[in-house]
């Protein structure tokens, strides 16, 4: 009797050891259909093998406070979703595991990714996270308004001079001086820094280049819009704009004739605009001597916190999740762009491509790809640029003064990390 009991207990123990799965926690940040698409992928991973069980938990990133606090604590998830600007501060502080070793073992290299993407979220060669999907921006115009004002709806402005002329032509005020339509308004300033041939960071010399002469020229050009169309009136007009993800989006309501638009707008237009709404997408027009096809990357990342007790399993899951087939399906669900070349060519992504997405893809594959420098100072650099733009808009500083100040502030801040 005793012998039999011993045997049964032994058998149970062997079963537990052999068949038990390592459970890992995965914090994902998408709600709605996008979240469901990701959870479906997690389920597929869980069904497809019996060593790892991934438990997905919905944790929106927000401003990152909760995630930062969790990651510096001792009880962390095994895989976490964070914004691009959080990667290096968290990684350099030791809160994230370096992935270089894992990537080497898995044979994942720079050439698997789109040009310029490998360095995105890296610092001094250290990779702390993998991009989830990519977002990028292009130049989008309302063809109906172009036609109405005698412009060729199939030809966007060829350069910034022509853009200035179009913006003036499409601009409308009512009899009381309130703006009724803006032709165009440069919004994300650093896109034009690059379009004008400037840059934010020199990765060779590891120096901030906020006051690059071409950045200053771009800033002057941006400020000219706020001077021409009156900063205060623009603000009042913008306060009347509806939500972007709604039928009140100023672009398809005709309040803004030309806009900077992320590729997710393609999905918004399909969902919220009139079915016969006509629009075009092209790379940003550049001034003479500027850069053509500038593509600004941004997005979120997946990382393995140092506190993870199962980093190998966490990476095995990440490797599967970011593999071309899964990446293609997830990007298709979000109307985002998968970061790996093979994923872009995957039928799951290609078959789901929305009209005009090819322009964004062409910019990423054939254009000048850049991302906001991922530095230990987080959002500080971006905020300083916003401040600079405000000073220039209101005339408190010249572009050169404002960008010189940014240069000094960021250099001083970065020195603290050396």
């Amino acid at each position: 009797m005793k012998k039999r009991l011993f045997f049964v207990m032994g058998f149970v123990l062997v079963c537990v050891v052999v068949f038990s799965r390592t459970e890992i926690t995965f914090w994902y940040a998408w709600g709605g259909d996008e979240g469901r698409a990701l959870v479906d992928l997690v389920d597929e991973f869980n069904r497809g093998q019996n060593q790892i069980l991934v438990r997905p938990v919905f944790v929106p990133i927000g401003q990152g406070e909760k995630i930062n606090a969790t990651l510096v604590g001792s009880s962390t998830p095994d895989v976490v979703t964070i914004w691009d600007w959080m990667v290096v501060p968290l990684g350099e502080s030791g809160a994230l595991r370096e992935l270089n070793h894992f990537l080497d073992l898995a044979g994942i290299t720079e050439s698997d990714y789109l040009d310029g993407v490998w360095d995105y979220g890296s610092y001094r060669g250290k990779k702390f996270a993998l991009p989830t999907t990519l977002n990028t921006y292009a130049f989008m115009w309302n063809k109906e308004l172009f036609r109405e004002f005698g412009l060729d709806p199939d030809h966007p402005p060829a350069n910034t001079e022509e853009l200035d002329r179009y913006a003036q032509l499409l601009f409308r005020e009512d009899t009381r001086g309130n703006i009724r339509r803006l032709g165009f308004l440069p919004n994300i300033s650093h896109i034009y820094f690059y379009v004008f041939g400037g840059q934010l960071w020199d990765s060779q010399t590891e120096e901030v280049t906020a006051n690059h002469p071409n950045n200053i020229a771009a800033m002057d050009w941006i400020a000219s819009y706020y001077q021409k169309f009156n900063l205060q009136k623009i603000r009042v007009f913008q306060a009347t704009w509806g939500e972007m993800a709604s039928s009140y989006n100023p672009f398809y309501r005709g309040q803004l004739a030309i806009q900077e638009a992320g590729q997710w707008e393609l999905l918004f237009i399909q969902e919220f605009a009139r079915p016969d709404f006509e629009y075009g997408v092209a790379p940003f027009p550049a001034p003479e001597g500027g850069r053509e096809k500038v593509a600004y990357l941004n997005g979120s990342f997946w990382a393995i916190p140092t506190g993870s007790t199962a980093p190998d399993e966490a990476f095995a899951f990440l490797e599967w999740l970011t593999a071309p087939s899964q990446s293609a399906r997830f990007a298709a669900a979000l109307s985002n762009i998968p970061p790996r070349i093979e994923a872009i060519n995957d039928p799951a992504f290609q078959n789901a491509i929305l009209p005009n997405m090819e322009v964004y893809l062409d910019m990423l594959m054939d254009g000048y790809v850049y991302f906001f420098p991922t530095l230990p100072v987080g959002l500080f650099y971006m905020e300083e640029l916003n401040q600079a733009l405000q000073y220039v808009q209101s005339g408190a500083k010249t572009s050169e003064e404002a960008l010189d100040d940014v240069q000094q502030a960021i250099q001083r801040e970065l020195r603290k990390y050396q």
Partner: protein, 297 residues
């Protein structure tokens, strides 16, 4: 003095019952306060170990234009917002203390806005103050007054925020009402016999008798005003042109978005000094002009 066994036991039990609160105070309030004082002398991202840099954060603060701007904005909102809110809530309390019909309905209506969640109220006011289709400007237009840009115009954004804060005077109004109930009616009867008018009674009886309550409300107003965050964060995000960048928002950004926890800690300690000075001035003022029923202030 020898302490008896029973007394010692009593103290032990007392401390034991107090301990959840004491531990909470120590862990969640006292420790962070002391730690932030240390962090204010360090380069600390909030993620990795702090590094001692002496007075650098404090020195840098005084050359940071946004620091000065944040102090200016916060003091502006306090100096104009607090007296305005106190006068209005006191006036409302006086009205609601009179004998009119449907008094309880009026009291409820005036108190109601102060229990609306701060985020919901901020979103509502963002719409109210919309320069083109907000009800406030539509009303001003109807009666022929100019329509300011409110939250879009740097010159009007702070008045816009003050308007929003006045909406929530219900809390202090209720405290004033309670204070008014505590004033002995004999004083008013005596004043009537002396032939005092309504205004004279307010200034000679009501206000002096209410002065401890006013002091309480003003001090709370100062503390809340210096810490105001939610409405600004939601309504303007500090803009336009940093005209509504208040101190707490600036601390939050530095600490959690820019990974400058050491710098933000230094800011927080300066806020403590400013608040203490403001409260000290208020105490001195009330000590001189207030009436505290013969107790020393």
């Amino acid at each position: 003095m020898p302490v008896s066994k029973a007394r010692r036991r009593e103290i032990k039990i007392g401390v034991l019952f107090l301990s959840p609160w004491l531990i909470g105070l120590g862990v969640f309030t006292a420790y962070p306060i002391i730690a932030s004082f240390y962090f204010s002398f360090t380069h600390y991202s909030g993620l990795s170990a702090p590094r001692w840099i002496g007075m650098d954060n404090y020195v840098q603060l005084f050359s940071d234009p946004l620091f000065g701007k944040a102090i200016y904005n916060t003091i502006y909102l306090a100096i104009i917002g607090i007296p305005l809110a106190q006068v209005l809530s006191l006036m409302t309390a006086l009205l609601l203390n009179s004998k009119v019909r449907f008094l309880s309905i009026f009291r409820t209506l005036y108190f109601l806005p102060s229990i609306v969640p701060a985020v919901a109220a901020a979103l509502l006011w963002r719409w109210f103050l919309n320069p083109q289709f907000g009800p406030v400007n539509l009303f001003l237009e109807t009666i022929g007054l100019p329509t300011p840009g409110w939250l879009t115009d740097p010159a009007w954004s702070k008045p816009g925020l003050i308007l929003t804060s006045i909406w929530g005077i219900g809390g202090s109004m209720v405290i004033y009402l309670a204070g008014l109930h505590n004033i002995p009616t004999e004083l008013y009867e005596a004043a009537d016999l002396d032939g005092a008018g309504k205004i004279a009674k307010i200034f000679s009886i009501t206000l002096p008798m209410l002065s401890p309550v006013i002091l309480f409300n003003v001090v709370m107003g100062i503390i809340n005003s210096f810490q105001s965050f939610t409405s600004v964060f939601i309504m303007t995000g500090g803009g336009p042109e940093n005209s509504t960048l208040v101190y707490a928002l600036s601390i939050y950004r530095n600490a959690f978005q820019f990974y400058r926890m050491g710098y933000a800690s230094a800011m927080a300690w300066i806020l403590l000094v400013i608040t203490s000075v403001a409260v000290f001035i208020v105490f001195r003022f009330f000590g001189r002009y207030g009436y505290f029923g013969g107790t020393e202030q």
